[in-house]
């Protein structure tokens, strides 16, 4: 079974809302979970700040 951890970050580009899906018996520490959240947000910012300029 998995647990879902919802989280959000606010930014100048708007709110980024995501969820972590982790096993119920996961061994991640709170710090590691926070790092995962931050990584996802950072990756999203990277996408947002490098937008496409032309269609396919």
């Amino acid at each position: 079974m998995t647990m879902k951890i919802d989280f959000s970050f606010s930014s100048q580009y708007g709110t980024f809302s995501d969820a972590l899906h982790l096993p119920d018996d996961h061994a991640f520490t709170d710090a590691e979970i926070e790092a995962m959240k931050q990584q996802r947000f950072d990756n999203w910012i990277a996408v947002i700040t490098a937008p496409p300029t032309e269609g396919v």
Partner: protein
């Protein structure tokens, strides 16, 4: 009318030279060049002794009444690059000693009946057209147009009711409103092109199929029936896409067996009736499949069948089986939704079994197993109603790539167990239709550029696990929903297309690539607190291209559409109601087109720089709330795209903005529009009050307390 005989061997048949034309067989040259009223003869006296000779046509087209090549005692070559031949009477090519190398169009334009076309095995090198009002032509031998088209524009084309001559061409076309008749008798017609029959406009067309057999040999084609009645029509193996348009009737309709791995797609644009037998050739294995479907998801096509041959390894979508055959059942039939009178096997769960990089669909024992880590079983290929699971362990080994190697119909694809054991799921250019859930594990990498269409028509979920979808995504799930289970991001350069169903952001962020575009259909965007982020700096970053049938639902919480590009971008609203906040989230000017209604408008970019929100002149944008402001030294410009005014409307309450630079803006609707004390009046404004809103009036209770 005169007769003209070719003499003196090799020469040029042009519009002026008389050297090789004689008034009699073997007579002196110098006769006039034949006109469309003159018969031309090529015979034993056309050459010098029995030598080979070449008649090179020039000045297109060469014309004649009857064309008769007969009695030749040396090989005659009829040449001419891109030079046409127009025959106003009959034509006969000699079976021997005759070679055709000219490559122009051959046109038959007789206006009387009784003409014959006898090519005696000589194939044409370019298009052949029958185009004579009142003309009538009967084949005197098989007609071979090679890889070229055969067109009936006027008159009657008959394959001979006595001899039933065969016809071979790239395509057979008759699409106009002229009076014309096609009699196929009991002939075999073989067509190799990708548009083998085009009867698009069949007005005044009398098509007598007789007991003919029409064979299509292309693996991908468009068959425009014009609503005609055919006898037997057969398709060779379809590897790509085939569309049948027009409500047609057949005796037998046959599709050859699928022997190559993949999905051959058979689209029906209209209902069809098969009064004999409908045969869909069985696949060699479960991964060799056909899809029989409507050309429009959610629009049913009825196939009325007297009989259907045994069916296996076929997917169906939006197909109703009617007629004497009754309910269709078969082996490994895939349910792609919207079907009636077809019995499908119960949904099952299958497990990927390959241990290394391999394909989703494979020959032999296949790639799947009935149990996790169990034996390979070719029959366990995941059908459109099955759940396909990638086990956590060595199926496949970490670092492997699983390639979905065809446009397969897939229900739930569950990769949630792939975490530390990584795997790349590659879709290449294949366009996949998804009818269940898509669940990524954190160890998944997705690659591919083919379209992913979510078409389940029930509740579908996408769990992306922070994995970017490189494929364009289409939501086309009539009466269904697609609900995000976490943030979803598509790759830059790809588009999300919204056609049918509900897209529920479910509180999460959906970041699209090039554009979010609506198309024809009934579609609802539900936010439930989620955000649709459109980061592209394009004029179609958010493109409500087909607003008809498009609705939005706020749900729980506040939804947002955020336009984040650092350079100019456009929100194409098309006059819809957006039960969400529209956010200017990037430095580039945000242009809003259409007279739209929004719950709110904000500007989150103000913390780092100045930007603009521009409305199309002469539009009215209606807001429940307005919360777009700038910051000190970073004014938010509110203006029109062109030098004319736009209108902003809010029914009641107070707009309390600040640090705006406003021009060409009419604020109305009943609310108090306070631009704030630090805003700038750029001119041509109406309704804006360039002060802070007044303080709320003190209450009676307050006055009482102050008094004391």
């Amino acid at each position: 009318m005169a007769n003209r005989y070719w003499v003196l061997g090799t020469g040029t048949w042009d519009s002026t030279s008389t050297t090789n034309w004689s008034a009699s067989s073997g007579g002196a040259g110098g006769a006039s060049v034949p006109t469309a009223a003159d018969n031309v003869f090529f015979d034993a006296n056309s050459n010098v002794l029995a030598t080979a000779f070449t008649v090179t046509m020039a000045n297109t087209p060469r014309v004649c009444r009857d064309f008769l090549a007969s009695g030749l005692d040396g090989t005659m070559t009829l040449a001419g690059t891109s030079i046409g031949l127009t025959v106003s009477g009959s034509l006969t090519f000699q079976a021997t000693n005759f070679t055709r190398t000219y490559t122009g169009t051959t046109t038959f334009n007789a206006t009387t009946t009784g003409k014959t076309v006898t090519t005696n095995g000589v194939a044409f090198g370019a298009s052949v057209t029958f185009d004579g009002v009142g003309g009538g032509w009967t084949l005197g031998s098989a007609l071979n147009c090679g890889v070229n088209s055969l067109t009936i524009t006027n008159g009657t084309f008959d394959t001979s009711s006595i001899s039933n001559y065969s016809v071979t061409a790239d395509s057979f076309s008759s699409s106009n409103s002229n009076a014309r008749i096609i009699n196929l008798n009991a002939s075999t017609v073989t067509l190799g092109g990708t548009s083998p029959i085009t009867f698009t406009t069949s007005t005044n067309l009398t098509f007598n199929a007789g007991t003919s057999q029409i064979n299509f040999t292309s693996s991908s084609l468009l068959f425009n029936t014009g609503g005609q009645t055919f006898h037997n029509v057969s398709f060779s193996q379809i590897s790509g896409f085939t569309n049948i348009s027009g409500t047609a009737t057949y005796n037998n309709l046959t599709i050859a067996s699928k022997t190559s791995v993949g999905l051959g797609k058979f689209n029906f644009s209209a209902d069809q009736t098969i009064s004999g037998t409908f045969t869909i050739g069985a696949g060699t294995t479960a991964s060799c499949r056909y899809l029989i479907n409507s050309n429009v998801i959610g629009t049913t096509r009825t196939l009325t069948c007297a009989s259907i041959a045994a069916v296996s390894d076929v997917d169906f979508r939006d197909i109703t089986i009617a007629g004497a055959h009754g309910t269709l059942s078969g082996t490994r039939l895939g349910d792609c939704k919207g079907n009636t009178n077809i019995t499908f096997p119960a949904a099952k769960t299958v497990f990927y079994r390959q241990t290394g990089s391999a394909n989703w669909g494979a020959t032999g024992t296949g790639s799947w197993s009935a149990t996790s880590g169990g034996a390979f079983d070719a029959t366990q290929f995941p059908l459109a109603q099955d759940t396909a699971v990638f086990p956590a362990a060595t199926y496949p080994a970490s670092g492997s790539t699983t390639t979905i190697n065809a446009d397969y119909n897939i229900s739930t694809i569950d990769m949630s167990l792939r975490t530390s054991n990584t795997m790349t799921l590659a879709t290449g250019v294949n366009a996949l239709s998804i009818y269940g859930n898509w669940i990524n594990g954190t160890g998944i990498t997705i690659s591919g550029t083919g379209l992913l269409t979510f078409a389940g028509r029930t509740t579908q979920q996408i769990t992306s696990s922070a994995k970017t979808f490189t494929q364009p995504i289409t939501i086309n799930s009539p009466s269904g929903s697609v609900t995000l289970q976490d943030a979803l991001t598509t790759g830059t350069g790809v588009t999300t297309t919204f056609t049918n169903g509900t897209l529920d952001l479910n509180g999460f962020t959906y970041t699209v690539g090039t554009a979010f575009t609506t198309t024809t259909g009934t579609k609802n965007l539900t936010f439930n607190g989620g955000t649709l982020v459109c980061p592209a700096a394009t004029t179609t970053a958010f493109n409500n291209a087909v607003p008809t049938g498009f609705t939005t639902t706020a749900g729980t919480g506040t939804g947002t559409i955020s336009m984040t590009a650092a350079t100019a971008k456009t929100f194409v609203g098309s006059g819809s109601t957006f039960n969400c906040t529209l956010n200017q989230g990037g430095a580039g000017a945000l242009t809003i087109t259409g007279s739209n209604t929004f719950s709110n408008i904000t500007n989150t970019y103000k913390t780092t720089g100045a930007t603009s929100i521009l409305f199309t002149a002469a539009t009215t944008s209606t807001f429940t709330d307005w919360n777009a402001s700038g910051e000190s030294t970073r004014l938010l410009t509110i203006g029109s795209v062109t030098a004319a005014s736009h209108t902003l409307s809010k029914a009641s309450g107070t707009v309390s903005a600040d640090f705006l630079s406003i021009s060409r803006s009419t604020a109305t609707g009943g609310a108090g529009w306070y631009a704030g004390a630090n805003s700038t009046d750029g001119g041509n404004n109406s309704g804006w009050i360039f002060t802070a809103p007044p303080a709320p009036p003190a209450t009676a209770t307050g006055n009482f307390l102050m008094f004391f």
